[in-house]
């Protein structure tokens, strides 16, 4: 979210990015909706750094559209369904693993069905802000009396405050005074500390996300003659596990064509993944272990994927996610080592969009 409301919890995984199959883990990481986010991958290939070939961006229409709407409409929209407020659209593109298919393009849709990490509805947080505002209100009242003295207004006269508040010039001067006074600094410091404390306590709050994506491939770079060759669905439930832990339970089902065998190109095959991830740490630095079972219909093979990873937030709005793991094929008794580095960028908390 934006402004004060925007908390840089981790940038969520994007369905359009996941659906293109660039990421071996099938879990779709849930998180709070961001107005705008970008994800890129595959910086390091064959022992060399390279320009990323796969990237995606995600937009939250409600956060962008509400920015210029009249306040009454915004209030009305807040009373509407959670899934609509957090509905997001992502678009991604990737170089295809089958060279004759050119580039892939994906469109993803996702939403939070449960989002317990919403600071704006947290009762304890709101009550603390209310108390701080009470102190600020009393300090402002005192400042108004001082301001009246400074401007030659007799505070013994009836309703002297009204003379200031109803005079546009004096009101502007007084607002400027409030903007910079010591009580304002104290209030803002308190607000910042409440916000930091909220992030610390709620990065692992309960969330339930659902997502859907469709992937098309084109025969050339202009994506002409696009053929839809994959449909994917995710559901991920994030549960708080103690003070600094979180468990993610996921399901991912995909139907995709076999693009390598020409005579089977009209057939769809199913892939089902059941990932389980345990995360531990703080909002800005977490480590995790993940175990995933996967059935790949096109190969009629059963896989397990065991990985260790980390999520780091070195700068406001910038996240690095990395993991390495062992992918084991039980059906054909093959094992491979897989690594992944993913960069996610969103608007910093301090960024003013409008």
């Amino acid at each position: 979210m934006l402004g004060m409301l925007r908390l840089n919890f981790v940038v969520p995984d994007m369905p359009a990015f996941k659906a293109m199959g660039t990421d071996p883990s099938a879990i779709l990481r849930p998180s709070t909706a961001q107005a705008f986010a970008v994800s890129v991958s595959e910086f390091y290939q064959n022992g060399q750094f390279a320009l990323p070939t796969d990237f995606a961006m995600e937009l939250t229409p409600s956060l962008l559209l509400n920015a210029t709407r009249p306040i009454e409409n915004v209030i009305r929209s807040y009373s509407k369904a959670q899934w609509l407020k957090t509905f997001r659209v992502s678009i991604g593109t990737a170089a295809n693993r089958a060279p004759h298919l050119g580039r892939s393009m994906a469109i993803g849709l996702r939403s939070n069905l449960i989002n317990k990490g919403d600071m704006t509805t947290d009762k304890a947080y709101l009550q603390n802000v209310v108390m701080a505002l009470g102190d600020f209100r009393m300090a402002s009242r005192k400042a108004l009396a001082t301001f009246a003295h400074q401007h030659g207004i007799d505070t013994n006269k009836v309703d002297y405050e009204f003379r200031i508040m109803s005079n546009p010039v004096l009101k502007t001067k007084f607002d400027d005074l409030l903007f910079d006074m010591e009580a304002q600094r104290v209030f803002m410091a308190k607000l910042d500390s409440l916000k930091q404390d909220y992030k610390l306590r709620n990065w692992n709050a309960q969330k339930l996300d659902v997502a859907f994506a469709v992937v098309g491939s084109g025969g050339d770079s202009l994506l002409k003659n696009v053929q839809l060759n994959k449909y994917a669905f995710w559901m991920t439930w994030a549960l708080r596990a103690g003070k600094s832990g979180q468990v993610l339970l996921g399901i991912n089902a995909e139907a995709r064509r076999d693009n390598f065998v020409v005579k089977k190109q009209n057939e769809f095959y199913t892939t089902v993944s059941l990932p389980l991830r345990y995360m531990s740490g703080s909002n800005r630095l977490k480590g995790y272990a993940e175990l995933q079972y996967q059935y790949v219909g096109i190969e009629r093979s059963h896989y397990s994927f065991l990985s260790l990873g980390a999520e780091v937030n070195p700068y406001d709005g910038f996240w690095v996610s990395m993991y390495g793991g062992i992918n084991h094929n039980y059906t054909n008794a093959g094992t491979s080592f897989v690594t992944n580095l993913n960069l996610k960028i969103t608007l910093p908390e301090s960024f003013k969009l409008f």
Binding site: M1, L2, G3, M4, L5, R6, A35, L63, N66, A67, P70, I71, V74, I75, Y78, T120, T121, K123, L126, Q127, V129, V130, M131, L133, G134, F136, R137, S140, R141, L144, T155, N156, V158, D159, Y160, E161, F162, M165, S166, D175, L178, F179, A183, Q184, F187, M188, L191, F351, K352, L353, F354
Partner: protein, 126 residues
């Protein structure tokens, strides 16, 4: 100053405050009644816009005593998401016998910092 006329022989006068939704702005307020020709005030209610409680209070009785008094709504507030939802509205309203007698209103732009508002209504018996 906004002047509102009331029936001195009518039912209790109720003052109510309305604020922009707490997801957009958080408000802490004090509703005060100031005696006629004086700055001496009594507090009718202190509250906030984050709970389900009604933000209203009944003025003292008998109702006729309120002639010439001023009702004041003092609010400290802050925008929760001032970048996306920059506007605020604060309304102080007076009711008697189920009718709205009148109101004072302030709207403006949220700055993301602490802000202060004072609304006045003068009560006149008619």
């Amino acid at each position: 100053m906004k002047e509102v006329y009331f029936n001195p022989k009518g039912g209790a006068i109720v003052a109510s405050a309305r604020f922009t939704h707490s997801k957009v702005m958080i408000a802490n307020y004090s509703m005060m009644l100031r005696l006629k020709d004086s700055n001496e005030s009594t507090i009718l209610k202190v509250g906030d816009n984050t709970n389900v409680e009604d933000d209203c209070a009944a003025l003292s009785q008998p109702v006729s005593l309120n002639d010439g008094r001023r009702l004041i709504l003092e609010t400290g507030f802050v925008g929760q998401d001032f970048a996306s939802y920059p506007q605020y509205d604060i309304v102080l309203e007076l009711h008697q016998d189920g009718n709205i007698l009148g109101y004072a209103h302030e709207s403006g732009v949220l700055t993301g910092k602490g802000q202060y508002s004072l609304l006045f209504i003068k009560l006149i018996a008619s």
